[in-house]
């Protein structure tokens, strides 16, 4: 134990503090009560950043590729909204029911996958099939779900808190999402720095060797699967809240999964801030391209192709390693000129 420890650990935390401080400053700086457009975009960035963090836990840490994030978000949202309507209680309570149902469903799928030793591709195809089934069932059961006309939904607000703090509904929603982001962020940091992180790395590198050392790979995969799908199911209703209506189109494969994949790969797998940076870039691009109609799809398709062929390690980690290489080079130059 030396005296430098707290200080150096504070230095290590500095980027975290800076990022969260910047996030807290977003509403006073950018949220304009007269136009909700920009506020909505910022809220979407947070939602997709959380989605990407959830995918990072299950795919980045345990190599389980799931392609039903839209479906899971829909499961969480419809459960939340329908139970709130049925029991006539606040969706703030049923939010946890929705998330729990999503988490249990996700855990079940991961359990079967781990038990039957699915490869990453098999799990991807199975979850994709579930995505399609969930979408079909939502449209098909229109008596319950409202089909493609949807269910109006704006109840995830807290008017009492808004008036007490003197901030707008969008600012409050943004802060709630920053809170969820912070919780998921803390969870992820704890996971990677605990025995779980080590076990995840072991499973990723060699599952059989990991099992030989006594790691319960099935339990860990199910655990990661539960966490991710719980988070996605929890954030789903907030995603619906931004549009004010729960419709199946909101949770389509192209609308959620493709974007989250691009975000995660752009930000870099297993990177702390990758999801946030990726989400900011992708939602900004989405916003920029939305006025050009289908050119948006064209651009994202191209982006996905190029990213996977040339930048599989992500933009953020690549920039970081370039920066570090340059730092070392500068230091070497300094050493040479100094001595």
């Amino acid at each position: 134990m030396n005296a430098n420890n707290p200080l150096s650990s504070l230095r290590g935390q500095l980027p975290v503090i800076a990022v969260f401080a910047a996030l807290l400053l977003v509403p006073p700086l950018f949220f304009d009560p007269s136009t909700t457009y920009l506020s909505r975009r910022f809220i979407t960035v947070m939602i997709f950043a959380i989605f990407a963090m959830a995918l990072n836990i299950i795919f980045g840490e345990t190599d389980q590729l799931i392609l039903y994030m839209g479906g899971i978000a829909a499961l969480g949202t419809y459960t939340t909204v329908l139970t709130a309507q049925y029991f006539e209680i606040s969706p703030w309570l049923t939010l946890f029911v929705g998330a729990f149902v999503s988490g249990v469903f996700g855990a079940l799928v991961c359990y079967v996958a781990a038990r039957r030793q699915f490869t990453v591709i098999v799990l991807a195809i199975v979850t994709f099939a579930f995505q399609m089934i969930i979408m079909e069932v939502i449209v098909g059961l229109r008596d319950i779900t409202g089909g493609t006309t949807g269910i109006p939904f704006r109840d995830l607000d807290l008017p009492a808190v808004e008036s007490a703090l003197g901030i707008g509904a969008f600012a409050l929603q943004f802060y709630v999402l920053v809170g969820i982001f912070a919780a998921v962020f803390a969870l992820y940091m704890w996971l990677t720095n605990s025995k779980y992180g080590l076990a995840f790395a072991a499973i990723r590198q060699d599952e059989f060797a990991a099992r030989a050392t006594g790691i319960d790979a099935i339990r860990l995969k199910v655990f990661a699967g539960f966490l991710s799908t719980f988070i996605i199911g929890f954030v789903g209703p907030f995603y619906a809240q931004t549009t004010g209506i729960v419709i199946p189109g909101l949770f389509s494969f192209n609308g959620v999964d493709v974007l989250v994949l691009i975000i995660l790969v752009l930000g870099g797998l297993r990177s702390r801030f990758g999801p946030l940076v990726g989400a900011a870039i992708v939602i900004y691009l989405d916003n920029l391209l939305s006025q050009f109609g289908q050119w948006r799809t064209v651009t994202f398709g191209l982006l996905l192709t190029i990213l996977f062929i040339y930048f599989q390690d992500g933009i953020l980690p690549m920039a970081q390693s370039m920066y570090e290489e340059r730092g070392i080079r500068d230091r070497l130059a300094g050493l040479r000129s100094g001595e």
Binding site: E136, G301, L304
Partner: protein, 284 residues
């Protein structure tokens, strides 16, 4: 009752052979080079649009269809020589993952372009009148599709069993290294089969357009159907895929008429999930 059953059977069979062809498009490329080709639906939609454009210039649906399929084959050849080659450089699981994402990206890219330039829906009319057999009114398009598909299956069977290239292809599916040792260049076979699968998807797309309207959005649906059929059929088994397509087509049609159309689609995906849970090692 019996007449209605016959009608369902013929419609189901027509749907089934179309699904079989789509499934084959996936099976051939995945079995051969482990690329799950998510572009397959795009090939089908491009063929349908090309066919509808050509109909104004050439006499007859058959000629327009053949020209459209030739165009799709050329399109696939260009893609194979450029982007898909980059995917084949990788090996094992990396290639599978890269293949999924690259073809997914490309399918979005082309789907977007199709939406921009050809946003409408296309329906091709074969001009075969409905027939009445034993009191059942059979759709003309279904009978035309079944007849044309029967010829096509015969050609495919001949190709894989009696031509040097077809036997070579099966050799590469069984064992890539072994094929190299026998003097069969896998990459060239992979390119030929990629083009062949695109052509099959093109034909299937034209058949599909005889039965239902096709829009750029159809490409995603058709690709997902194709993958599911291929999985139920065993992914690297050609005869398995054909059988799976026909069985699923009939089941989907019957389930659709009994319980509503959305359950037909659910049946297909649920069947694929069940097969994967039962035999996950078929894709490795």
């Amino acid at each position: 009752m019996l007449a209605q059953g016959l009608e369902l059977l013929i419609d189901g069979l027509a749907r089934g052979v179309i699904l079989s062809l789509f499934g084959l498009g996936i099976t051939l490329v995945f079995g051969l080079g482990e690329i799950l080709n998510l572009l397959l639906g795009v090939f089908a939609v491009v063929a349908v649009i090309a066919c509808s454009l050509l109909l104004g210039a050439v006499p007859g649906l058959a000629i327009a269809g053949l020209l459209a399929v030739a165009f799709v084959a050329l399109f696939a050849l260009v893609l194979d020589r450029t982007v898909i080659s980059l995917v084949y450089r990788e090996e094992g699981e990396d290639r599978i993952l890269l293949g999924i994402f690259v073809t997914l990206g490309l399918s979005l890219f082309f789907e977007g372009l199709l939406f921009i330039y050809y946003p409408g829906s296309v329906f091709l009319d074969v001009g075969v009148p409905s027939m009445t057999v034993a009191g059942a009114s059979l759709t003309g398009s279904s009978i035309a599709v079944i007849a044309a598909a029967a010829v096509l299956f015969g050609l495919i069977y001949y190709f894989f069993n009696y031509t040097y290239l077809g036997i070579g292809t099966r050799t590469v599916i069984q064992d890539e290294t072994g094929a190299v040792l026998c003097g069969i260049p896998p990459r060239r076979v992979q390119a030929i089969v990629f083009v062949l699968s695109a052509a099959i998807a093109g034909v299937a797309g034209v058949f599909y357009a005889l039965e239902a309207e096709v829009t750029p959005a159809s490409s995603f649906t058709l690709t997902s159907f194709a993958i599911m059929v291929s999985i139920v059929g065993g992914v690297d088994s050609i005869s398995g895929t054909v059988a799976a397509g026909i069985v699923l087509g009939i089941i989907m049609t019957v389930a659709g008429s009994l319980f509503g159309s959305y359950l037909a689609t659910v049946t297909l995906f649920a069947a694929a999930i069940a097969v994967l849970i039962y035999k996950p090692e078929q894709i490795s």
